[in-house]
């Protein structure tokens, strides 16, 4: 099978898995749309600002330039459909096993903590792997994996928020569906949102990036990242731990990894640019501007519109490609 055919097969498979997940979610929550259409629309609409802001911010966290827009959107959709839909079935199955094997009392406290980390972290990181296999140029290192992972996690988080919001209607006896959805959304976004799925899949996704960059030598860091994400998830779902502690641990873990990866990226990029500058391949002004979005934009604005600006933009794109190839 040629590389092009393999990529096509992966893309079609990813599309099919997303469609399957979307159908699972639609079947599970279709009754809400029929019986309480306003609450169902509200539950979905309430997530749109979170998605828009989160998507934009997470993409901008990648230094030098954001990941490809289409594949970022694909990761978001995979998280919100394929991963969320499959997780619904997988968690029900494993949760049922816990209740049958250890009893409903044990399961009510521990089922989420023992089921979700295993199922959800694997299902979500499959989104990063899908992007890698479908568009290898998008993930070239751990930082790329981390950003695509965070976006996948964000999609999952939004879908989960919708399902929790709708479940809150039944759990509150449908006495005030609109308020039940709103309260659930506010609670999930304001309290746990900062340390939830986007941080977990960011860490797991970085592992995929290590595999890409280091090959077999990346197996250990990749496993470490996935296990780390599962551990963070277990803590997040565990009873008897304050929510603030859970959020802080996840945010600090993902943040520390991000800063370390970003520093490594910047250092490699700077080394490359210094080498190019020393060799006379680029000017000092270009070397200073290329890794800063703002400086690149400023240079482009100063250039005369037309041929000069086009030439500058082409040059910037070439240099960015060089930096990305050398520094992932």
């Amino acid at each position: 099978m040629t590389a092009d055919v393999s990529i096509l097969v992966v893309r079609v498979t990813a599309g099919a898995v997303c469609a399957f997940g979307a159908v699972v979610l639609a079947v599970a929550f279709f009754r809400y749309l029929v019986v309480l259409p306003a609450a169902a629309v509200q539950a979905v609409a309430a997530e749109l600002p979170l998605l828009a802001i989160g998507f934009s911010v997470l993409r901008r966290l990648r230094p030098v330039r954001p990941p490809d827009l289409a594949w970022s959107a694909a990761a978001l959709i995979f998280g919100g459909t394929a991963a969320a839909g499959c997780a619904l079935l997988a968690n029900q199955g494993l949760g049922g096993l816990w209740a049958k094997a250890a009893g409903p009392s044990f399961a009510s406290n521990w089922s989420a903590a023992l089921s979700a980390p295993l199922n959800e972290e694997i299902l979500k990181v499959c989104g990063v792997v899908m992007v890698l296999l479908a568009a290898p140029q998008v993930i070239r290192g751990p930082l790329d994996g981390m950003i695509i992972g965070a976006i996948t996690g964000l999609g999952f988080q939004a879908a989960e928020n919708v399902t929790y919001g709708l479940n809150a209607v039944a759990l509150s006896g449908a006495t005030d569906p609109g308020r039940a959805v709103w309260n659930s959304m506010l609670y999930r976004v304001s309290t746990g949102g900062l340390g939830s799925h986007w941080t977990l899949t960011a860490v797991a996704g970085a592992g995929v990036g290590y595999l890409v960059r280091r090959g077999q030598d990346g197996v250990l860091p990749a496993a470490g990242c996935l296990l780390g994400a599962m551990g963070m998830h277990l803590l997040f779902d565990a009873p008897y731990v304050a929510l603030a502690v859970k959020v802080a641990v996840n945010l600090v873990s993902a943040g520390t990894l991000y800063l370390a990866l970003r520093r490594g990226y910047a250092s490699r990029a700077q080394k490359l640019l210094t080498g190019l500058e020393t060799a006379g391949a680029i000017t000092p002004a270009e070397a200073a501007a290329v890794i800063s979005r703002r400086r690149r934009r400023r240079l482009a604005q100063r250039a005369t519109p037309g041929a000069e600006r086009d030439l500058l933009l082409t040059r910037q794109r070439e240099l960015l490609a060089l930096v990305d190839a050398a520094a992932p």
């Binding site: 898995v17 009754r31 809400y32 019986v35 309480l36 394929a82 499959c86 079935l89 997988a90 968690n91 029900q92 199955g93 494993l94 949760g95 049922g96 096993l97 209740a99 049958k100 094997a101 009893g103 409903p104 009392s105 399961a107 009510s108 295993l118 199922n119 694997i122 299902l123 499959c126 209607v169 039944a170 759990l171 509150s172 006896g173 449908a174 006495t175 005030d176 569906p177 308020r179 039940a180 309260n183």
Partner: protein, 171 residues
């Protein structure tokens, strides 16, 4: 992905779900001691463990009859008047085609007042009841559904269970 999505439900389906409960078993429902209710189970019931959670609700079965008892967390005190309308909605969500008949009052052995009503749909009949806790912060919702031939048994089971409802924090 396929292994997790199909594997766990398949593995779960291979493990026997119902666990017989002794007649007179007392079960507690609620997230904590202050927001909890206790009820007594009659003879012949089994707990469907995969659908039971002491914090949120239990699913019980006796032959073809299914009993679900759920903890309803009210968004604010003073929502008792909305409980009946909410009950209609919850029934439409969970049991499409099942409708609630004329509601009437019900009282527990502890003296708590609630509402109950006959429910019926295609091939099923039963009874539903909802009893608010004294704190007015939560309520307990009971739904018994079975084939029409088990109508009397369903009503008897629901009636015994609702009468046995006890809110320990109110004692």
């Amino acid at each position: 992905m396929a292994a997790l999505t199909a594997g766990w439900p398949l593995a779960s389906s291979l493990v026997h779900n119902p666990r017989p409960l002794a007649a007179g078993s007392r079960l507690t429902l609620g997230p904590n001691r202050l927001s909890a209710a206790r009820f007594t189970v009659g003879p012949g019931w089994s707990m469907l463990r995969a659908s039971s959670n002491p914090h949120q609700g239990y699913a019980l079965a006796r032959g073809p009859v299914r009993l679900s008892i759920r903890y309803v967390a009210l968004i604010s005190a003073g929502q008792e008047p909305q409980l009946l309308a909410g009950l209609h909605t919850v029934l439409r969500l969970s049991n499409p085609g099942v409708t609630l008949g004329q509601p009437r009052p019900v009282i527990t052995a502890q003296g708590r007042h609630g509402i109950t009503g006959v429910v019926s749909g295609r091939g099923v009949t039963g009874i539903v009841a909802i009893v608010p806790a004294p704190s007015r912060q939560f309520a307990i919702q009971v739904l018994v559904l079975g084939p029409p031939r088990d109508k009397l048994a369903s009503r008897g089971a629901e009636s015994r269970l609702v009468r046995s409802l006890l809110f320990p924090a109110a004692r």
